[in-house]
């Protein structure tokens, strides 16, 4: 195993910062993130007996059962807010296809070999559209199995199907979020975009050069 | 019942016709289920509707309400023409061989002697030919055209399967299947039990419906045997006790009868109650009438009833007419009644033609109701919108409601359909101000007595001399009353064989009615109950189930008469005293005496050669296929249409209804005709409710919440009625609104070639209680009664029906 000595920059130069998220967008994101996490915790508590202890976080099983769908409602609204803000930036383009083809390089972190990207890479777009779709599905199936208010509107067979889909979707949604969170951590400097609203120029140069180029030109994409 | 509930478990074939045992007698019905499960017995149900009983039947046959005599006439015809009768039984134990007065006749639906103006018969020709010796004449060959057998053959010959189908609407093949199944019981080793109730009684010819089946049972040799019999499934838990105790306007306890105005003195009274045997050596048990009567009078008036005053015969009221319910309310409407005591009775809901009842009650000066519940009758004056649309301001009747306990809060005995007196204990104290009925009656009695004492009055003696020997005159106990029913010796009773031996000491309880005397030395309030509370204690409270699996349970409670469980049980053996069926021995000749598992219905030492008939109450000693003058409307049952019928009488087109039935003038005018009221209605009960009471009970209200009527899918379609939708049903007397139960269980019947629809109307709703307010069939029913016992014709009348948008408004 080679010893990898990290190069420390000899001089700390003045950094360039680029605004990435407005305060509103950040609040919106974190509401979404928190609700999703709570949904995950409460959902998983009911999903598998070994995680039932998580219900303690919500004040017991009955409250967990009662709260979860309401969190879902908040999530839906909250995510909808994000959706309106971000959807245009997440439209697919040729670069994304190329990015996807080079997913190996992505995973290795060899970004130099990738095309220049606009605000989001294909992975982020995947998270965006994936979550959009799955939240919608989770919401509709969630309503179907929300017995307290909507019990008895559909056949039990439909109910069963909804429960299954809900669980499967939740599984994929959580998987996706694991990827999403990990990506946020792995790609150093990302979290700052959602905490302070800005990223360093270097971060933008390395990951979203096209976006940086536009930004410095003062071009703003519609909806940004 | 001739038999008992448990005995039904011993049958080979149960026929439920004229009742709905599973629905109205679910607990007793278990014996049918047992017979099916344990003996492989079959069950037939003949009912206008496919009922809960039918749901577990082996065969169901529909019938149009009010046509059972035609159906059973068809069965009789089938049995006679296919020779499916138990010959020895018929010949020896029925009056088949008796010769009838040649003047007797029957044509155009009428028997000889009809007086149209009086709607009554001169019955003199309806009797046997009596010889010089005073005995009825017989033709043992059954060939004489005037013998009962031949007359019967002729009388029922018109009821061919085709005629049955035409009148009853019962498909011919189904009728024949029923007839065939019944006929299979004509062998001595197969028995059928007949279970019936209101589907037969509540008709203008109700008594004759029952007689028709009794004849079938006699032809099959099924009376007096195990698993056989005519089994009336009684109604209220103690309705048997009510009739036993003579709570009918013309009876006194033990089926003795009140004198009429034509019997002003005791001799006149007794002259028609002598019951001289009509055949040599017969028991003709009613010969003892005087003993029962005198003991009753002694029980009522003690010392005041003496040989000199003919046992206080004058104290008894002499009837001008019978005062049945229909008469009483008719008199009310005529303004001839001042006050009415209504104890445990809710006539506004349960008697016919509610409009007439409201009119009657509104004309009273006062009405007293004694009831544990707030009944509709006691609130007849209260406006409940469409449910009781009266003008309260116009009603001047003063109503007193006296709250009573209910059966579960009382101690005493209840007599079941099988004549068993079963003692029971209170489950709890009556709530609130409720008092025992006996307490209330005692108060009234004591007050009346005091008034008579003070003011004299026209004839105070019967009240002042009434025996009232209770420890607390204000509160007779059930024990005291029960002992009084049983009766006791007023003087030492000697052994008839040994005049020095005292059998019963003075003051001691009697042990059986054979001990009753007509010399005033015994008292018994109800002779058939003598034996229920002896010196050995309260026999009704016995609880020993052990009976070796016979189902007779002789040590459980006490059965009248003489703890006998099956009446006429001597008929379970042939003339020689040998059981018809060895696997179901009941009472048989053991060489020196009658033995068996039941108390013989019969002198234990009568030798078979003495040919004492098994039907010991009858002067003939045999059962009557031909009833002589005993029935008002004819010695044989014959088909009459209900007063409101969809077709003319197919066998006597000119006759409407039963020509001798009870109907008042105004009520004739209130009858409707089939052009305006094309549908046949019948009324009945549902398991979920007991009359008008249980709608006060939450659970029952949950199980059957709302008034409905039942119709066929065909009628619903014709009338645009939807399942669960509202309908209006009306007759010539009134109208009701109900939910529609549209069902495959009721099917249109082809009557005289045209489809006839049936509308079924259950009984249980009203405007008081926990269930949804509702109406009931008696807004519609006709004010017509049976010819013999005045039971109203609740089971067959005409209505019209239409779909409506919404229900009644409260």
């Amino acid at each position: 195993m080679a010893i990898d000595i990290e190069h420390q920059p000899p001089v700390v130069r003045a950094r360039t910062f680029v605004d990435r998220y407005s305060a509103f967008a950040r609040v919106n994101h974190w509401i979404t993130a928190i609700t999703f996490s709570l949904l995950t915790l409460s959902g998983l508590a009911l999903f598998h007996p070994s995680l039932y202890f998580l219900t303690a976080l919500f004040g017991g099983g009955a409250l967990t059962r009662a709260i979860h769908p309401w969190l879902g409602v908040i999530l839906l609204i909250s995510f909808f807010g994000m959706f309106l803000q971000f959807w245009r930036m997440n439209l697919w383009n040729r670069d994304d296809t190329q990015w996807m083809k080079q997913i190996g390089d992505v995973v290795k972190g060899d970004e130099e070999r990738l095309p220049e990207l606009d605000k989001y890479n294909a992975g982020q777009k995947g998270v965006f559209w994936g979550q959009a779709l799955m939240i919608l599905v989770l919401f509709t199936t969630g309503l179907v199995i929300w017995d307290q208010y909507f019990g008895g509107y559909v056949t039990i067979e439909t109910n069963r199907l909804a429960a299954l889909i809900h669980a499967v979707m939740a599984f994929f949604a959580i998987m996706l979020i694991i990827v999403h969170i990990y990506a946020g951590i792995w790609v150093r400097g990302s979290v700052a975009s959602m905490t302070r609203g800005k990223v360093t120029g270097g971060w933008a140069w390395r990951h979203h050069r096209k976006w940086l180029r536009r930004t410095v030109k003062g071009e703003r994409a519609p909806g940004e | 019942m001739t038999n008992s509930w448990a005995d039904i478990g011993w049958t080979d074939l149960a026929i439920i016709m004229g009742g709905n045992a599973a629905e109205a007698h679910p607990c007793g019905f278990k014996w049918v289920v047992e017979a099916k499960a344990n003996r492989g017995a079959k069950l037939i149900v003949v009912d206008p509707r496919y009922t809960r009983s039918a749901s577990v039947a082996d065969f169901y046959c529909p019938i149009r309400p009010g046509t059972d005599i035609a159906f059973l006439g068809g069965v009789i015809n089938y049995l006679l023409s296919n020779d499916k009768i138990q010959h020895d039984y018929v010949k020896n134990y029925t009056n088949a061989a008796y010769l009838v007065n040649p003047a007797y006749g029957f044509s155009d639906g009428l028997f000889t002697g009809y007086d149209e103006a009086k709607r009554d018969y001169d019955k003199s020709s309806w009797d046997y030919q009596v010889g010089e010796d005073g005995f009825a004449k017989l033709d043992d060959t059954l060939q004489d055209p005037n013998c009962v057998f031949q007359l019967m053959k002729k009388h029922f010959a018109i009821y061919t399967p085709e005629m049955v189908e035409r009148i009853c609407g019962s498909p011919k093949d189904k009728f024949l299947k029923v007839a065939e199944m019944i006929a299979s019981c004509s062998t001595p080793t197969k028995t059928m039990t007949s279970m019936y109730a209101l589907g037969w009684t509540q008709h203008s010819k109700g008594s004759q419906n029952i007689r028709a089946m009794a004849m079938v049972q006699l032809l099959l040799g099924n009376i007096g045997v195990r698993g056989g019999g005519m089994n009336a499934l009684r109604g209220h838990s103690n309705i048997q006790g009510l009739t036993d105790l003579g709570l009918m306007s013309n009876l006194i306890p033990g089926y003795l009868t009140l004198p009429t105005e034509k019997e002003p003195d005791f001799n006149a009274y007794m002259s028609s109650r002598g019951f001289k045997p009509l055949r040599p050596g017969q028991m003709s048990y009613w010969q003892n009438y005087k003993k029962f009567f005198v003991s009753f009078q002694k029980s009522m008036w003690g010392e005041a009833a003496t040989a000199e005053n003919n046992w206080a015969y004058d104290y008894l009221p002499k009837l001008d007419v019978t005062y049945d319910m229909l008469r009483v309310f008719d008199l009310m409407v005529q303004g001839k009644m001042t006050g009415y005591f209504c104890q445990g009775f809710n006539p506004l809901m349960t008697l016919s033609n509610r409009g007439k009842l409201t009119e009657g009650l509104s004309k009273l000066k006062w009405l007293v109701t004694m009831d544990p519940l707030d009944t509709e009758t006691s609130r007849f004056w209260e406006n409940h919108g469409e449910f009781n649309d009266v003008k309260t301001g116009d009603i001047q009747t003063e109503v007193f409601q006296l709250p009573t306990s209910c059966f579960a809060e009382d101690e005493g005995s209840l007599v079941n359909s099988g004549r068993w007196l079963q003692w029971h204990y209170p489950g709890q104290e009556p709530p609130g101000e409720a008092k025992l009925d006996t307490w209330i009656m005692a108060q009234i009695g004591q007050k009346l007595k005091a008034l008579y004492q003070k003011e004299g009055g026209a004839f105070p003696d019967p009240i002042l001399n009434l025996t009232w020997n209770y420890a607390d005159p204000n509160n007779p106990t059930p024990q005291e009353l029960a002992k009084e029913m049983n009766g006791s010796a007023l003087a030492d009773q000697m052994d008839p064989k040994d005049a020095t031996k005292v059998v019963v000491e003075k003051g001691k309880q009697l042990s059986g009615f054979a001990q009753l005397k007509d010399d005033g030395s015994t008292q018994a309030f109800c002779w058939i109950y003598t034996g229920c509370w002896t010196e050995a204690g309260n026999q009704m409270a016995r609880r020993d189930k052990e009976d070796g699996g016979t189902g007779l349970a002789p040590k459980w409670a006490w059965s009248w008469p003489a703890n006998r469980r099956i009446l006429y049980n001597r008929a379970s053996s042939d003339v020689a005293g040998k059981p018809w069926d060895d696997s179901r021995k009941l009472v048989y000749w053991a060489g020196d005496k009658w033995a068996g598992i039941d108390v013989p219905d019969y002198g234990a030492a009568f030798k078979p050669e003495q040919t004492v008939g098994p039907f010991i109450m009858n002067p003939e000693g045999v059962a009557r296929l031909f009833t002589r003058k005993m029935m008002r409307d004819g010695p044989f049952p014959t088909h009459y249409e209900p007063f409101e019928a969809p077709v003319a009488n197919a066998v006597a087109p000119k006759i409407r209804g039963n020509p001798a039935a009870r109907i008042f003038k105004g009520d004739f005018a209130a009858l409707g005709s089939s052009d305006k009221y094309p549908y046949v209605a019948t009324s009945y009960r549902l398991t979920e409710h007991f009359h008008q009471w249980t709608k006060h009970v939450w659970v029952n209200a949950v199980l059957q919440p709302e008034f409905f009527v039942e119709i066929s899918e065909e009628l619903a379609k014709e009338k645009g009625i939807t399942k669960g939708g509202w309908v209006r049903v009306w007759s010539n007397r009134g109208s009701v609104k109900a939910k529609a139960v549209v069902t495959k269980r009721i099917k249109p019947l082809m009557v005289d070639g045209k489809p006839t629809h049936i509308v079924g109307i259950p009984q249980h709703w009203g405007f008081m209680g926990a269930a949804k307010k509702g109406m009931n069939p008696n807004s519609l029913t006709p004010f017509v009664g049976d010819a013999n016992i005045e039971t109203p014709e609740y089971k067959a009348f005409l209505v019209n029906i239409e779909a409506i948008a919404s229900g009644p408004v409260a």
């Binding site: 998983l44 009955a62 180029r213 | 082996d58 939910k739």
Partner: protein, 309 residues
């Protein structure tokens, strides 16, 4: 029946089987002989009374079934089906007492996420333990017979308990006790099967060639069984399932699927960890920053928002 100590065989959402305490328990069963049932609803009222349930007074909707369905307060219900028998041309009124079947393999228990909210005793009775119930209605989805009902009042699931409280002290169910025709019988499952055998012979002798015992194998057999005149067509008895088994959807949802899914999630998290360990953080280099700064300089004229700090 002798006293039955209620030992647990299974608990919902738990892997551990509680130790058997009392003596040996025998499997019990309630046998409902439809051919003896007269639809009197005595069982229904006994159930209301014994379990102290207060059902609402409803309405008539054109049938005899009241209430119209099982509810949190009506754990049993008579269902009246009208059927024209095509073989005989005769009408038949098929009356069935509906309620929990007490499956040997209870779908309700399988689906239930709350530990101990549903238990199965060694005698076969499946009981809901209301203290532990969270009202999620998964049991409703799990049940192949559509039995459990969730209360709108306390949000807990309710169904027939087979009168486990009575059975525990050696008494039969209240409904069986009230049944006037002994259409409901209770005893050991073995005895009930024998009893059924006799009834089936009788029914066959009466022309019901397909009479049989409904004890569906798909759910491992049940502890409430029916004697049916037409066992080949249970669905004519107001929709009694033909070959009931736990729905494949439910099996997929709450069967092994959930273990795999949980494993996958854990694996994903672990995968991320390993990825990080192997690849290391994706860092921005000084070079990147310089390039960005350069770009920012260039763009200054064109009003950049990127500004040096």
């Amino acid at each position: 029946m002798a006293n039955q100590s209620l030992n647990l065989l299974r608990r919902s959402a738990s892997t551990d089987t509680p130790p058997v305490t009392g003596g040996q328990t025998i499997e019990v069963a309630k046998l409902i002989d439809v051919s003896k049932c007269i639809g009197c609803k005595a069982c229904q009222s006994a159930c209301l009374e014994w379990n102290n349930l207060r059902e609402e007074v409803g309405v008539n909707v054109g049938v005899y079934d009241n209430p119209h369905d099982l509810t949190p307060n009506s754990w049993t219900l008579m269902r009246f089906a009208e059927w024209d028998n095509p073989d005989t041309g005769n009408f038949e009124w098929l009356i069935r007492k509906d309620g929990c079947m007490h499956c040997q393999d209870p779908g309700c228990l399988k689906a239930c996420p709350a530990p101990g909210a549903i238990v199965q005793y060694t005698n076969g009775i499946v009981d809901f333990v209301h203290e532990n119930c969270i009202g999620c209605a998964y049991c409703v989805k799990g049940c192949p017979f559509n039995i459990p009902r969730i209360s709108k009042v306390d949000h807990k699931a309710y169904k027939c308990s087979l009168c486990s409280d009575r059975v525990a002290v050696g008494q039969g169910p209240a409904c069986a006790k009230a049944c006037p025709t002994a259409a409901i019988m209770f005893g050991t499952k073995e005895d009930m099967k024998k009893q059924a055998e006799k009834r089936i012979v009788d029914l066959k002798s009466r022309g019901y060639a397909n009479a049989g015992l409904y004890d569906p194998a798909g759910v491992g057999g049940t502890h409430v069984m029916y004697v049916l005149h037409h066992n080949d067509k249970p669905e004519i008895y107001a929709g009694l399932p033909h070959e009931p088994k736990i729905s494949p959807l439910v099996a997929a949802w709450k069967g092994t699927g959930k273990v795999l899914a949980l494993g996958a999630l854990a694996f994903a998290a672990l995968g991320a960890f390993f990825h990080h360990t192997v690849v290391g953080p994706n860092k921005v280099s000084e070079h990147d920053e310089e390039n960005a700064a350069e770009l920012a300089e260039e763009g200054k004229s064109s009003k950049t928002e990127a500004r040096p700090v």
